[in-house]
Amino acid sequence: MSDAVRRPVPKPDVYVSTKPFWEGAQARRLVLQFCKDTNRFQHFPRPVSIYTGSRNLEWREVSGKGQVYACTIVRVLGPGVEGRLPLSVVTVELDEGVRMIANIIGSDPEEVKIGHRVALAWDQLDGDILYPAFKLA
C-alpha cells in the first residue's frame, strides 16, 4: 500500500461499545457480537440482540472461515478507496452463521466468485491499525 493512500481509522465505542472488535483485530482475532440467550452471532454490532431484544450480549471470536455470499467490484472513487481500485467487496457468510461485508485481498478481484471458500486475512488502516479482510481459501 502506498503512503499516499489514506484509510481513516474510525473511533470505536461511539455508536455502541465496539472495543472488543478493535482489540481483537489488533491481535489478529476476529471478534463479533454474540447473543448468549440464543447462542447466535450478529453483525454489525447492535445495542441489543436482534433475536431477542435483550442486552445479554458478549463478544466471541469466530473462525474467520466462510464463503462468499455476494460479490462486487467497486470501480468508482470515494473516500477511503483511493489507490485501491478495482476493489473486491464481498458479503462473507461465516461458518458461524453470520454475514459481514469485507474486502478480498491478495487475489485479482475478477477471480472472486459466489460460493468461494474464504479465510481470514488482515488489512491495514492508517497507522498500521489492523482491519479484518478475507482471502480466497
Binding site: R7, P8, P10, K11, P12, V14, Y15, T18, F21, R40, F41, Q42, H43, F44, P45, I50, Y51, Y69, A70, C71, T72, I73, V74, R75, V76, G78, P79, G80, V81, R84, L87, V89, V90, T91, E93, G97, V98, R99, M100, I101, A102, N103, I114, G115, L125, Y131, A133
Partner: protein
C-alpha cells in the same frame, strides 16, 4: 364501498427536476405548494394537515417539518415527518388519510422536497464508519452490486432486460416536461451496454442521479373533493414494512419486504396483478424494478429478466412502466423521490399525461423504497394501489 376508501388524492404538483439548482428544499417546496394551491383553488389557510418528507439537504435540522410549516405560513393541526425516504410520499398519503379519518385534520398536504445535489447535510452515523466505510462501501452502488450479484447467482440476470428497463423509461422521460434536461435524449442498447460498470454488475445507467426538486399532494375526503369539483384518485390500499427479516443474520437478500406486503396489498384492494393498468415502481436501480415485478406477481420469482424481455413496458404496452421516466430517467430529487413515481400515477389517472397518456388508467400500483441497509436489499418497502 368500504368506509376506508373515502379519502382521496385531490391534487398534485411537481417541480422540474434540476441538477445543482443552487436552490434550497424550502424554495422547491414553496414552488410545489404554491402551484398546488393555485390549480386546486384551495386557500392556504384551509390546509390544516401537513406531512413533510425529511430531506438530505436539510437533515441537520431536527425541526425541519416545523420550519417548513413556518416557511409556508401554515398552522397545521396535524404534522407528520416523513422519515422513510422514498416511501414518505405514499406513506405520507396513507398517514394523512388516517389522520383525516380520525378527525385530526381535514385537508392535508403531503410535501416532499430535497436539494441534495446543491447541499448535502446528512450523516448517517451509526455503524457505518466502523463497519461499512472501511471495506469501501460508501453508498448504494456497492450494496446494489452485491445484491445484483446474488440475484444473478440464484436466478440469472439478463443485462439486456435491465437495459430495456432503462431504455423504456428514458423514452417515457422524453415527453415529461419535468424530467432532467440531460436525460431528454433517447438511449440505445449499445449506449447502455457500453456504459461504465461502477460496482459489478451494476452499470452507471442502472442508477439514478441525485438532483433537486419537489412534489406535493392534496389529501381530503371524497365528499370535500366533490364539493370543490376537484379531480380525484382513491388510495385503494396501502401497505409498508421496514427492516424486513430484521431478526435474521443470514436472510435471502433477493427477497425484499415487497414479498411480505404484496399479498396483503392485493387482498386489501380486492385486486390482483392482472387488474393493474400501470406500474410506477420506485426505481433507484433497474434491478429494484425487476425484483418488484416478481414480488407483485407480474411474473414468477426469478423470471424477471424473461418477463421484461417478453413484455411491452411502454405507455401503450401490456404493463406501462414508470411512464414519466421514473427516477432513473427524470432524475432523483433526493428523498422527494417517492413522490415522483406517485405524481406520474396521479397525472395519468387525471388524464393529464399528454403524449404518453396510458389509454386505460383506472388503476395504478405505486411503490416506495427507503434507505439502503448493511448488506441486504432495502430498508422500507411501501406500496399503494390507486383507483380512479
Amino acid at each position: 364501498m368500504s368506509a376506508r376508501s373515502n379519502i382521496v388524492i385531490a391534487g398534485y404538483s411537481e417541480t422540474k427536476v434540476v441538477f445543482r439548482s443552487g436552490r434550497s428544499a424550502y424554495d422547491f417546496a414553496g414552488e410545489a405548494f404554491a402551484s398546488l394551491l393555485e390549480h386546486t383553488g384551495v386557500a392556504k389557510d384551509e390546509v390544516d394537515g401537513l406531512s413533510v418528507t425529511l430531506a438530505l439537504s436539510e437533515a441537520s435540522n431536527p425541526f425541519f417539518t416545523v420550519y417548513m410549516a413556518d416557511a409556508l405560513g401554515l398552522t397545521p393541526r396535524w404534522l407528520n415527518a416523513g422519515a422513510i425516504g422514498g416511501c414518505s410520499a405514499t406513506g405520507g398519503v396513507a398517514r394523512a388519510a388516517s389522520a383525516i379519518r380520525d378527525g385530526m385534520c381535514r385537508i392535508a398536504v403531503v410535501l416532499s422536497s430535497d436539494a441534495p445535489s446543491t447541499a448535502w447535510r446528512s450523516n448517517y452515523g451509526a455503524y457505518r464508519s466502523e463497519f461499512q466505510d472501511p471495506p469501501g462501501v460508501q453508498g448504494p452502488p456497492a450494496t446494489f452490486g452485491l445484491l445484483m450479484s446474488r440475484y444473478k447467482h440464484q436466478y440469472g440476470l439478463s443485462s439486456e432486460a435491465l437495459g430495456k428497463i432503462a431504455i423504456t423509461q428514458r423514452q417515457h422521460a422524453l415527453t415529461n416536461v419535468n424530467a432532467l434536461d440531460k436525460f431528454k435524449k433517447p438511449l440505445t442498447m449499445d449506449e447502455y451496454m457500453n456504459s461504465r460498470i461502477i460496482a459489478d454488475p451494476l452499470r452507471i445507467l442502472d442508477c439514478v442521479m441525485f438532483c433537486d426538486g419537489a412534489n406535493a399532494f392534496l389529501v381530503m375526503s371524497e365528499e370535500d373533493a366533490l364539493t370543490r369539483g376537484l379531480k380525484m384518485v382513491r388510495p385503494k390500499a396501502y401497505a409498508e414494512v421496514t427492516n424486513y427479516a430484521g431478526s435474521e443474520s443470514c436472510p435471502d437478500i433477493t427477497e425484499s419486504g415487497f414479498w411480505m406486503i404484496a399479498p396483503e396489498l392485493y387482498r386489501k384492494a380486492g385486486l390482483g396483478p392482472e387488474d393493474i393498468k400501470m406500474f410506477q415502481p420506485y426505481d433507484d436501480f433497474t434491478i429494484a424494478v425487476l425484483m418488484q415485478m416478481e414480488a407483485f406477481g407480474f411474473c414468477g420469482r426469478g423470471q424477471g429478466s424473461r418477463y421484461v424481455l417478453d413484455t411491452d413496458l411502454s405507455y401503450q404496452g401490456m404493463l406501462p412502466l414508470n411512464t414519466g421516466g421514473g427516477q432513473i430517467s427524470a432524475g432523483q430529487p433526493g428523498l422527494a423521490s417517492g413522490g415522483l413515481n406517485l405524481a406520474e400515477a396521479v397525472r395519468q389517472m387525471f388524464g393529464e399525461a399528454g403524449a404518453r397518456q396510458v389509454q386505460d388508467p383506472r388503476t395504478a400500483l405505486v411503490t416506495g423504497i427507503g434507505v439502503i441497509p448493511y448488506g441486504r436489499n432495502w430498508g422500507t418497502s411501501a406500496a399503494m394501489i390507486l383507483e380512479a
